[in-house]
């Protein structure tokens, strides 16, 4: 794969409502944290450029926009993900128990070509809070059983480990994309609608 090619990595963040998904991406991209998010305007997706082994890649991180709250994420949300970040709250045991079903849901909906090798990363968030319900050891055990999924303990509130976690996420996403792009580009020449009247996709435009 040509290394000067512009790379866009799509990352989606899954996990129970309130575990801190939106906070994590907001902390990572905007270096901001809020204790209460206004219900009127949510997060959409955020982009950030990262450099990995001298390559600059654009990471596009997609928030669930709250649609996970009543299990209503549509299949469209999962399309084309290069990495899936699972998040639980280390003080809320139920959010840890849900991880299996979030992972399964991702594999069913996104239907990646090689489900066994698809990169997931697990984040145990809110480590600034007490009391802790899920120990690091327990989380690591879960990860080991899942093809050695990388695990990070984070605090979106204090910005702890957030940068490191997302860097690992980007690396995993890139490795995944390198693999699949080398095999074949599944859907070349898609059209994104833009405000410019120009046509997309090179020689596809019409000369009339």
């Amino acid at each position: 794969m040509a290394s000067n090619k512009k790379v866009l990595l799509k990352v989606i963040i899954l996990g129970d409502s309130s575990v801190g998904k939106t906070s994590l991406m907001n902390q990572y991209v905007n270096r901001k944290f809020s204790n209460q998010y206004k219900a009127t305007i949510g997060a959409d997706f955020l982009t950030k450029e990262v450099t990995i082994d001298d390559r600059t890649v654009t990471m596009q991180i997609w928030d669930t926009a709250g649609q996970e709250r009543f299990q209503s994420l549509g299949v469209a949300f999962y399309r084309g993900a290069d990495c899936c970040v699972l998040v639980f709250d280390v003080t809320a045991p139920n959010t840890f128990k849900s991880l299996d079903s979030w992972r399964d849901e991702f594999l069913i909906q996104a239907a990646p070509r090689e489900p066994d090798n698809f990169p997931f990363v697990l984040l145990g968030n809110k480590v600034d809070l007490e009391p802790r319900a899920i120990s690091a050891k327990r989380a690591q055990q879960w990860c080991q059983a899942k093809n050695n999924m990388p695990y990070f303990e984070t605090s979106a509130k204090e910005g702890l480990n957030v940068e490191q976690a997302f860097l690992a996420i980007a690396k995993n996403a890139l490795a995944q994309q390198n693999q699949s792009v080398d095999l074949y580009n599944e859907f070349p020449d898609q059209i994104k609608l833009t405000n410019t009247q120009k046509s997309n996709g090179g020689g596809d435009s019409c000369a009339c």
Binding site: T22, R69, G74, N200, D204, S205, C208
Partner: protein, 463 residues
């Protein structure tokens, strides 16, 4: 598990195309929206299904309830495996299929594309150009020339005809005023166009022998106006199927605070008093809203009188093993197939590049006004396209009828209840967008319909 909110500005039931646009538009201007669906999938009759989910589709669940109106469900739903030996392989690839109940095309300069751009919803979806337009002439498939260069390259069109056609196409604006014949086809013939050319222009207009001059000219203009923007034809198709579109609008609604809950099996009733809906009762709670929007499919009989459905849309979905007109590269074809004198069958042939079917297969959608039954309505076309030894074979077929509800009127509907019809027989979404806009404007007369949403990086949370 969380509880749903007990009070919102707008409560919407059903996630079809029209309801989803209204949801996005209301959330966008700051209204609190609760958007529910008894189904566990997005889109109602506008949704897409993987192969297994299509096989499991149950248009008429045996238990009727206040939120499933049988009058408006799909009729004549029936599927069949014609090549049993392929079944296993296809079901293994079930998730590679995204099969639309209601496939649509988008004019490159039509209202839909415009709305996606001006509202900034375009960022949630990708498209593919229709790569060729075909029609059926003298017992065979013909490519419809789409551009000046196509016309000039065509060997089926003589030099003289080329000139006549260009003149005709460039003078459409004047025609309406100057011609007094009222039938589009007769008009074309009176212009001394050959049979070939008449067929091409009729295909551009999607016209039958009964199409009026005004309609025909308008449609050809729409076709020509959308050329040259994206790709070789005036049409786009949504990646992964048309069902993605409702989800894109729902996402925008959610980003602006809309609350989503699918699979709501516990709805009991919409309660009314003095010709107003007062609340939604579920098994767990009561939810109050100022306005209520519901799909007809999910609206109780008690608010819908009289129900008299006059027209149905015939649909067929086929999985085939090769293209109706094989070529080196995978094509996304739109075939305009005239059937008899008053009906057009719209045929979309989708390959794996559309994200709606696996490699080495084609997904074929047929849509037409219903005359008898879907099977009968498509018999002639299928015989012509899929029966010869060198023609593609049909592996799987599915037929159903969609009730046409876009022009129904009901009496004494509660004043704060707004009803969204199901799919229409149009090629595109224009009339449905119009319907969504009308409902929005009735609820919020002075507010802007889907103004440009800020880019994600303009949304700073936590300030």
């Amino acid at each position: 598990m969380d509880e749903l909110p007990s009070e919102v500005d707008l409560l919407i039931i059903g996630t079809g195309f029209i309801e989803s646009i209204i949801s996005a538009a209301a959330s966008r201007i700051g209204k609190s929206v609760l958007h529910l669906d008894p189904n566990d999938y997005y889109g109602n009759q506008w949704g897409s299904f993987n192969l297994q989910a299509l096989l499991d589709y149950n248009p008429d669940p045996s238990e009727p309830c206040d939120f499933r109106n049988k009058s408006f469900s799909l009729k004549n739903f029936h599927y069949e495996w014609l090549m049993e030996d392929q079944k296993e392989d296809l079901l293994k690839n079930s998730r590679k299929f995204n099969i639309d109940l209601t496939p649509k095309l988008h004019y490159c300069r039509g209202d839909f594309v415009q709305l996606l751009i001006t509202s900034n919803i375009a960022r949630y979806s990708e498209f593919r150009s229709v790569t060729r337009i075909l029609t059926w002439l003298n017992g065979q498939l013909e490519l419809v020339p789409c551009s000046r260069s196509d016309v000039f390259a065509s060997q089926k069109v003589s030099v003289v005809e080329k000139r006549v056609l260009m003149k005709l196409l460039t003078s459409l604006d004047d025609i309406l005023d100057s011609e007094n014949t009222h039938n589009f086809k007769k008009f074309l013939e009176s212009r001394k166009l050959s049979d070939n050319l008449v067929t091409y222009v009729m295909a551009m207009a999607g016209a039958t022998e009964h199409t009026s001059l005004g309609e025909g000219v308008k449609s050809v203009k729409r076709f020509l106006d959308s050329l040259g923007r994206f790709g070789k034809t005036p049409y786009l198709f949504s990646m992964y199927g048309s069902g993605e579109i409702a989800q894109a609008f729902c996402r925008l609604s959610a980003v602006f605070g809309g609350i989503y809950a699918l699979n709501q099996q516990n709805l009991i009733s919409l309660d009314s008093e003095d010709n107003r809906i007062t609340s939604l009762t579920t098994t767990k709670q009561q939810i109050r809203a100022q306005n209520y929007v519901t799909s007809l499919e999910q609206c109780s009989e008690k608010f819908l009188r009289p129900v008299k459905i006059n027209n149905y849309i015939s649909r067929a979905i086929l999985i085939t093993n090769k293209s109706i007109l094989p070529s080196e590269q995978e094509q996304l074809s739109f075939l305009i197939y005239p059937e008899g004198t008053e009906r057009i069958i719209n045929v979309f042939e989708l390959g794996s590049l559309t994200g709606t079917c696996p490699k080495n297969y084609y997904l074929v959608h047929l849509t037409s006004k219903q005359v008898t039954t879907p099977q009968e309505d498509f018999k002639g076309a299928l015989g012509n396209l899929f029966s010869g030894s060198d023609q593609p074979q049909i592996i799987f077929s599915c037929y159903f009828s969609i009730p046409e509800t876009s022009d129904l009127d009901f009496e004494n509907v509660p004043e704060n209840l707004f009803l969204c019809p199901g799919p229409d027989n149009d090629l595109d979404y224009n009339s449905s967008i119009q319907k969504a806009r009308e409902i929005f404007e009735k609820m919020y007369p002075d507010l802007e319909f889907l103004p440009r949403a800020p880019d994600p990086e303009e949304i700073i949370i936590g300030d």
